[in-house]
């Protein structure tokens, strides 16, 4: 299943592009390790496609991308990272989707002096004590969606929440984050098995509880199973969740069962900021599907890279780091800057699942947490 693509950006020419390209003399080599096979492949493919789209549109022909498939396995990701650093001699790494894979790869590659731009995973360890000057998270710290959802639910008048997440570190973080934002009473806190597919038992507990809001974090297939079963169960507690369970890639599989569910994200396809409508249109045209949050994150990661390589030479680590930190690019999420721990300060929005014609998708409701910065930055000494 070893999968390797060598993608080189196509030269588009033009005076503007040429001017940009001359600013960065040396060629930049980027290694992308992401999940392209198996059950979680949809996320990695979206990040890759968004990333390549932004590179293509930038017209830069001096950025070379080597793409590798980690199969969602930490050991494979570590091997690929070694290969990219030692034999491909890449300058920048990116692409990892899952927090456990990021924890296995990021500390070692940043210690070897390489830059890592995270297009998705944002484990608290790397935002706090384990932060590193060469590590930049362009997506979000893992807590962001959960904490914003908690704050929104509390502001919306919910008093008692039922919370549900898989029993693994990201699941526990999700519940901690939600509770931090919510501050209200918790009717019950239920941990499910990772990869669980049947939620009848939990749904019965939800129905028997007196909660007035249900918050769950069940990424990927787990969320699809849960929502389909929940909507057929007769339970009526309103649902709120992070976008991971209600994003474009999986809404089609949940179908009408998800309609009306509120979910938090840093981006939405109808977000009215410069460049976003163009991004949505060009992505849909090129790949024949609507972009997801992951596609938007991949797109932004490439924009950041392009802006930094235009401003500084990648071989001059200090200047390149400063150029990354400046985040001088127009993110499709709107205002964006890095906090001192190199994690975003950004607005987290509330979205609602709706149907546009035959397509189930999200519409923007409004901000859930403005200028959100994660709470781990205080532990970051660099």
């Amino acid at each position: 299943m070893n999968f390797k693509t060598l993608a080189k950006t196509v030269a588009m020419g033009g005076a503007v592009c040429a001017a940009l390209a001359t600013a960065a003399a040396a060629e930049v080599k980027v290694g992308m390790i992401t999940t392209l096979s198996g059950g979680g492949a949809g996320l990695g493919i979206d990040v890759r496609d968004g990333f390549l789209l932004a590179l293509e549109q930038s017209g830069r022909d001096d950025i070379e991308v080597v793409i590798e498939d980690d199969q969602r396995k930490p050991d494979v990701a570590v091997q690929l990272a070694d290969k990219l650093v030692q034999s491909e001699k890449v300058d920048v790494l990116t692409g990892i989707i899952w927090s456990n894979l990021a924890m296995a790869v990021v500390p070692s590659v940043t210690a070897q002096g390489k830059f890592y731009l995270s297009p998705n995973a944002g484990p608290s360890q790397l935002a706090g004590r384990g932060c590193h000057p060469n590590y930049f998270n362009v997506a979000w710290q893992n807590d962001a969606y959960h904490e914003a959802a908690g704050a929104y639910a509390a502001a919306d008048g919910s008093k008692k929440a039922f919370v549900l997440a898989p029993n693994y570190p990201a699941g526990q973080d999700a519940i901690t984050g939600f509770k931090r934002g919510f501050g209200g009473e918790i009717a019950a806190e239920v941990y499910t098995k990772l990869g669980q597919t049947d939620y009848a038992a939990e749904i019965a507990q939800i129905r028997a509880s007196d909660a007035d809001i249900l918050y769950y974090f069940l990424p990927g297939g787990m969320g699809i199973s849960f929502m389909k079963q929940y909507s057929g169960s007769g339970a009526e507690v309103p649902v709120i969740g992070p976008a991971f369970s209600f994003d474009q890639g999986i809404l089609g599989a949940i179908g009408d069962a998800a309609l009306g569910v509120k979910n938090t994200a840093h981006w939405s396809k109808d977000l009215d900021v410069p460049g976003n409508a163009e991004f949505v249109a060009s992505f849909s045209e090129k790949y024949g599907r609507l972009p997801s949050i992951y596609a938007a994150q991949g797109f932004d990661t490439a924009l950041l890279l392009v802006s930094a390589t235009a401003a500084a030479d990648v071989t001059d680590a200090d200047a390149f780091r400063a150029a990354l930190k400046a985040a001088d690019f127009q993110s499709v999420r709107g205002a964006f800057k890095f906090a001192d721990n190199h994690h975003p300060i950004q607005t987290i929005y509330m979205r609602e699942v709706i149907k546009e014609g035959d397509v189930v998708t999200n519409r923007l409701v409004g901000p859930a947490a403005e200028d959100y910065a994660d709470p781990y930055g205080v532990d970051c000494k660099m």
Partner: protein, 306 residues
Amino acid sequence: MSLILIAEQVLNGLQFGIMLFLMAAGLTLIFGVMGLINLAHGSLYMVGAFCAAAVAAATGSFALGLVAALAGAAAAGALIELVVIRRLYDRDHLDQVLATFALILIFSEGTRWVFGSFPLYLDVPPALAGPVALPFGIQYPLYRLALIVIGLVVAAGLFWLIARTRIGVQIRAGENDREMIAALGVDIDRLYTFVFALGAALAGLAGALVGAIQSVQVGMGEPVLILAFVTIVIGGIGSIKGALIGALLVGLTETLGSVFLPELFKLFMAPAAATQTGASLSSMAIYILMAMVLIWRPTGLFGARA
């Protein structure tokens, strides 16, 4: 914790167990009759779900989707029996594990290649959607109730097939003495292909039925496969009755454990710690059950072989 909730959880456990039985029955037949460890059984479950989702999306009919799942999984089963599995009967179990593991990878990437990387949509038919009121004020999803009924009907059909029909006699004979029934003029190759396709069709049916309330995606078969192996080890390898009892035991233990263990720990621990300890322990519960059954009966509850 009300009685209604307990009754509802018992129903949930039964439903989970019955679906597990559809997977385990095929697995135990194939292991029992042919002596073959088939790791690719979960892939046939996935094939069934994808066939059902594709046909249901194209025709709008869930029933046609079920037919497609049965036919698709049986065809896939017959095909891999003829092309790959047939060469493995005389090899040791390690070779079988290796070859059928390769089949898992081929099926997963093949499915991804044909259907794409994003999960497919498959919903319960409108006639079975929503909850239904049972006696004593229990509200229960109609579709899950239908799953229990379908599973029981299939189980009854399978018992009838094994115990009362000519082909059942041949299957039981093949289990006991392969050379002898070949000498009696039974076409053992054809019998094996039939048994394998039957097991595959059951797995495909389970995949399609469960796919409607879960996620139809690549890799959906592997977690179920592990549970199905636990089930047949508990029930005794090769025994359909064992598979049924084992599946119900596993279904009930899994469901009730995940609900009641955290409650139990709350009696003497802080709620947050109790939830986590309970959740961790409940995911071990079926393996503890398996270990206890094996200590008591090393060949499983209804296993004949030493």
